[in-house]
């Protein structure tokens, strides 16, 4: 059932993200042309047009980031907590499957948007030599990290990817939990959702600062091991936070669902 939910969730979101990536690709190509044009400085008109294209390109990158976030919030709100919830919550699927479907798709779009923005930057400045240089730089950075800091470079990259994925999921779950609580009230659902989100942020900040000041670990580790330990603890802390928000979300949807 989860695979079917994922299929339809991707279908619902791809109709927004697909065209957006297409526009970003076109603007990246145009930006590439504009950069070359601005280099030549042939005429004032062409310079203005080139500048305008670069502005649109920047705006599109910002739009991709913002829309990815807004889409994640809006899909949860309209598809599960709005009128469409009458269809979704009467499907032969559990609340857990509904939340996982939303979560997985959102994290995939976060990753896709990050890749799209990086590719857009590469396309805009594309030059065969730059790309060749970048590959060499990446290899050198990896080698230097491994050699100088004695850190397992590959492991470090893997840990970073896992941390990004878990943090993205936790970010989504924090929004979900705030909306699930906010929409359980009879009135002012959106306002209360925002209020609970702010409350979660404050609580997380307080917990984070308190644990940082009171942290008195004496693990007798240093250098590379300390970096790996720090990454591991960050991943674990993010996962625990995400798990708390997951429980809040699913329990609210199971016990206190209050569809509009």
């Amino acid at each position: 059932m989860l695979s079917k939910l994922l299929k339809h969730e991707f279908r619902a979101t791809a109709r927004v993200m697909g065209p957006l990536y297409l526009v970003l690709l076109v603007l990246s190509l145009c930006a590439n042309g504009s950069i070359r044009l601005l280099d030549n400085r042939t005429s004032a008109f062409l310079n203005i047009m080139g500048g305008l294209v670069l502005f649109l390109y920047g705006a599109c990158i910002a739009a991709v980031c913002i829309i990815t976030l807004v889409l994640m919030i809006n899909r949860f709100r309209t598809n599960l907590l709005g009128d469409e919830g009458y269809v979704m919550f009467t499907l032969p699927a559990s609340v857990h499957q509904q939340v996982w479907a939303k979560l997985i798709v959102s994290v995939v779009w976060f990753a896709a948007s990050a890749v799209a923005v990086c590719l857009a930057a590469l396309i805009a400045v594309f030059h065969v030599e730059y790309v060749a240089h970048m590959v060499v730089w990446a290899q050198q950075i990896l080698q230097n990290i491994t050699a100088y800091y004695a850190v397992n470079g590959t492991m470090m990259i893997l840990e970073t990817i896992v941390l990004c994925a878990v943090s993205a999921a936790t970010c989504c779950l924090m929004f979900y939990a705030a909306m699930a609580i906010g929409h359980s009230f009879a009135n002012h659902k959106t306002l209360l959702s925002v209020a609970f989100y702010v409350l979660f942020l404050v609580v997380l900040q307080v917990c984070g600062l308190t644990s940082a000041f009171n942290c008195n670990f004496d693990l007798h580790i240093a250098g590379a091991a300390a970096i790996h330990a720090f990454m591991g603890m960050s991943i674990a802390a993010s996962a625990v936070t995400g798990a708390i928000f997951y429980v809040i979300t699913t329990q609210m949807l199971k016990k206190h669902l209050n569809l509009e």
Binding site: M1, A12, D83, P92
Partner: protein, 270 residues
């Protein structure tokens, strides 16, 4: 199907005509359903209560709905009809008591047996009719796609038309078509004829009668009694969250000598 529909509606109307005279006709209007009725109830409420912040919406309701029956869940606005249907779908959790679908509490398994029409149109508006068909076919093994496509074609709805492009009335019909195209065990229809014109009411009622699974129970929640009376086997009256009456339509006509509509007006007289 068409013949059954005409036969049923005509028979229902004959009953109503008889009731205005001396002797109401008691012969079973739907012989297939009479045969299917019996066994364990498909929907059962035991001492069921639901409160919203201290305000009771349902108050210790005990009732059962048998298979093969078309049941009218009747009551004035705010009587608790929608709450009861939401509880049966697991959209709300009971404050007290239990509600059972085919012997089990509402869960993802029970949802394979229940086809639910909410009291509002809630189809995703970005979907086209064909995407909606895909959606229902994917999630419900009992979805009869050919029947749904036939009804959509009958209404001249293009399959590539989005829900957003349809009028409010067409959206309601499309939603009903999706719900009635399932071979479910229990159909829960919340206000299926509320807020639509008389011609659409006829279309909706004939779609329900023509397409439901005869072994299944149909619960129709409404306060427009006169329009649905002709298709009902049983009625449940609820008011202010309490069960007022559960009876067969024939019994009401025999014992009270009046139509369900007349009895409703008498019971809920302001």
């Amino acid at each position: 199907m068409e013949n059954l529909e005409n036969k049923d509606l005509t028979a229902g109307q004959a009953d109503l005509t008889a009731e205005n005279g001396a002797e109401p006709e008691i012969a079973p209007v739907f012989p297939e359903r009479e045969a299917a009725a019996g066994g364990s109830p498909i929907l059962e409420c035991r001492d069921l209560s639901k409160s919203f912040g201290g305000t009771p919406a349902l108050n210790h309701i005990t009732l059962s709905v048998m298979r093969g029956r078309i049941v009218g869940l009747l009551g004035p606005n705010g009587s608790g009809k929608t709450t009861l249907i939401k509880l049966a779908n697991g959209l709300l959790t009971p404050s007290e008591g239990v509600i059972l679908i085919d012997g089990q509490a509402p869960n993802k398994e029970s949802r394979t047996k229940v086809s639910y029409l909410p009291d509002r149109t809630c189809l995703p508006t970005w979907m086209t009719a064909v995407q909606l068909l895909d959606f229902y076919q994917d999630f419900y093994a009992d979805f009869r796609r050919d029947a749904a496509e036939e009804m959509l074609t009958h209404l001249n709805i293009r399959l590539n038309q989005t829900i957003k492009q349809m009028s409010k009335g067409t959206r309601e019909k499309v939603q009903l078509i999706m719900v009635m195209s399932r071979a479910a065990r229990l159909y829960l229809l919340d206000e299926p004829i509320g807020g639509v014109d008389p011609a659409t009411r006829d279309y909706i009622l004939s779609t329900i009668i023509s397409n439901y699974n005869p072994d299944a129970a149909v619960v129709i929640s409404t306060h427009l009694i006169a329009d649905v009376e002709k298709v009902l086997d049983d009625v449940i009256f609820i008011n202010q969250g309490q069960l007022v009456l559960q009876s067969s339509v024939d019994q009401i006509r025999e014992e009270k000598g009046m139509s369900v509509d007349a009895l409703f007006r008498e019971v809920f007289k302001c």
